[in-house]
């Protein structure tokens, strides 16, 4: 992420209240996991929460750092696991995904969008110009008399021509298909990896919808 001018301040640069050393030590002793959602619906993260009470046992072993649940904005160090949902649809997605690859030992693509583009990739068969035109110029729901314009500013991430799966941008280690995958499926994969077992998704748990 680059700054456009010197007056900008990112939220992660603002001072925060330090955590007490005991809690911090407990967190540091756990397996570090970072999560993120790119172009998708956050359904996979909701499915992650669908683990219900199994989540409590999981959180005894893992510390979730950057994620939509914790609202931490930056990856605070070396991570064992990166859990990513959503496809790559703009320049910021690419930069952040590269940051995840640099800082995570293992990256997991979760859900249809991360694996092949999913619902957002439905725009891939339509020229980008036509998509913009439909959304901003010829929009059925446009405010009447408003100036019709396609938003463009250096602060707004550039939209990619096509929505890409994560593995076309960086190397991805494991894939959990599904739209979204069941909580039980996510638990099976995370539990195996956290406990040092091999990744194994049986065909009975595999699904694409």
């Amino acid at each position: 992420m680059t700054k456009c001018n010197k007056h900008e301040i990112f939220s992660h640069e603002l001072p925060t209240t330090p955590i007490d050393p005991e809690t911090q030590a407990k967190r540091d002793a756990k397996i570090q996991v970072a999560m993120i959602g790119f172009c998708g619906c956050w359904g996979c993260t909701l499915s992650f929460l669908d683990m219900d009470e199994a989540l409590i046992a999981l959180l005894d072993k893992v510390n979730i750092t950057r994620s939509s649940i914790t609202d931490t904005k930056r990856i605070p160090g070396r991570m064992a696991l990166g859990f990513i949902e959503g496809g790559i649809a703009n320049s910021e997605n690419i930069a952040v995904l590269e940051e995840y690859r640099e800082n995570c030992d293992v990256l997991i693509s979760v859900g249809a969008c991360a694996i092949w583009g999913g619902v957002p990739a439905m725009r891939n068969v339509i020229p980008l110009e036509e998509c913009f035109r439909e959304a901003y110029i010829d929009s059925e729901t446009a405010v009447p008399d408003a100036k019709k314009t396609i938003p463009f500013h250096e602060d707004i991430p550039t939209i990619t021509t096509k929505v890409m799966p994560l593995h076309e941008v960086v190397k991805i280690d494991y894939f959990i298909p599904g739209c979204p995958p069941d909580g039980a499926t996510i638990l099976k994969v995370l539990d195996d990896l956290i406990n040092g077992r091999e990744f194994d998704l049986p065909s009975a748990m595999n699904r694409y919808d």
């Binding site: 693509s109 249809a112 694996i115 092949w116 583009g117 999913g118 619902v119 990739a121 439905m122 891939n124 068969v125 339509i126 096509k162 799966p165 593995h167 076309e168 494991y174 894939f175 959990i176 298909p177 739209c179 998704l201 065909s203 009975a204 595999n206 699904r207 694409y208 919808d209």
Partner: protein, 239 residues
């Protein structure tokens, strides 16, 4: 009866059976997409278009549905090289078309999807192409969703006009320009049962019966009740 070897095990097979059927009768599953049990096309009992049933026969890679068993035949099904080739074939189909399972009415009763699960596909190793394909909804009863067509030609050979025996579906163009076409005037004469049968015959969600939507809840759909492998080994007749 002839003796054949499947994955190193000597078993009996009926004369006249193809390798796919013989293996199923001996409890060995070979995935297939174009093969329709009990149907013959121009005297052949297979279409042989999809190649998803490829196995090694005496060391050579062949489509199991196209080969009749013979004495002493050595068939390798679950051998790593050919297993990966079958998986690659399924992955190619997923890359070539636009197979959006979450938005497809056929999901849960789609043979391509069910076969994907059987070959353990999580992601395609090939780049997803997103080729624009035109949907044809001009016919009264059938929605032709070209994004999903895998060119198995089941519909081309097996769906015919009752009165004239003319083909209702055809493939126009070659190579990347090939596309499935529907004869609108013949299709509009199809009785409701034939429309439903054509839709069920399609191994993907390309031929969609306009009167049928998402009518079975998730968890109770065809291949969720019984996987495609279980059905094939049991010899379930397609309903």
């Amino acid at each position: 009866m002839v003796k054949i070897i499947i994955d190193g095990k000597e078993v009996n097979a009926e004369i006249g059976d193809n390798v796919l059927e013989a293996a199923a009768k001996n409890n060995v599953f070979i995935p297939s997409l174009c093969y329709v049990k009990g149907e013959s096309v121009k005297g052949e009992n297979c279409l042989g278009t999809c190649r998803t049933c490829s196995v090694k026969v005496n060391g050579n890679i062949m489509a199991a549905c196209t080969i009749a068993v013979c004495e002493g035949m050595n068939i390798e099904v679950n051998e790593p090289e050919v297993t990966d080739m079958r998986k690659a074939l399924v992955e190619l189909l997923f890359s070539e078309g636009n197979h959006n399972c979450p938005s497809c009415e056929k999901s849960g009763r789609c043979e391509l999807q069910a076969t994907g699960y059987e070959v353990d596909m999580m992601v395609s190793r090939f780049p997803y192409r997103f080729t624009p394909r035109q949907v044809d909804h001009s016919s009264k009863f059938i929605w032709l969703e070209r994004d999903r067509c895998i060119f198995c030609q089941r519909c081309v050979e097996l769906v015919r006009d009752k009165a004239t025996d003319q083909k209702i579906f055809s493939i126009r163009g070659r190579g990347t320009n090939a596309r499935i076409e529907i004869d609108k005037s013949l299709a509009d004469n199809m009785p409701a049962e034939q429309v439903r049968a054509a839709s069920d015959l399609c191994p993907v969600g390309c031929i969609i019966d306009k009167s049928q939507g998402f009518d079975v809840p998730i968890g109770r759909r065809k291949f969720e009740i019984e996987t495609i492998k279980e059905r094939a080994l049991k010899g379930s007749i397609d309903d």
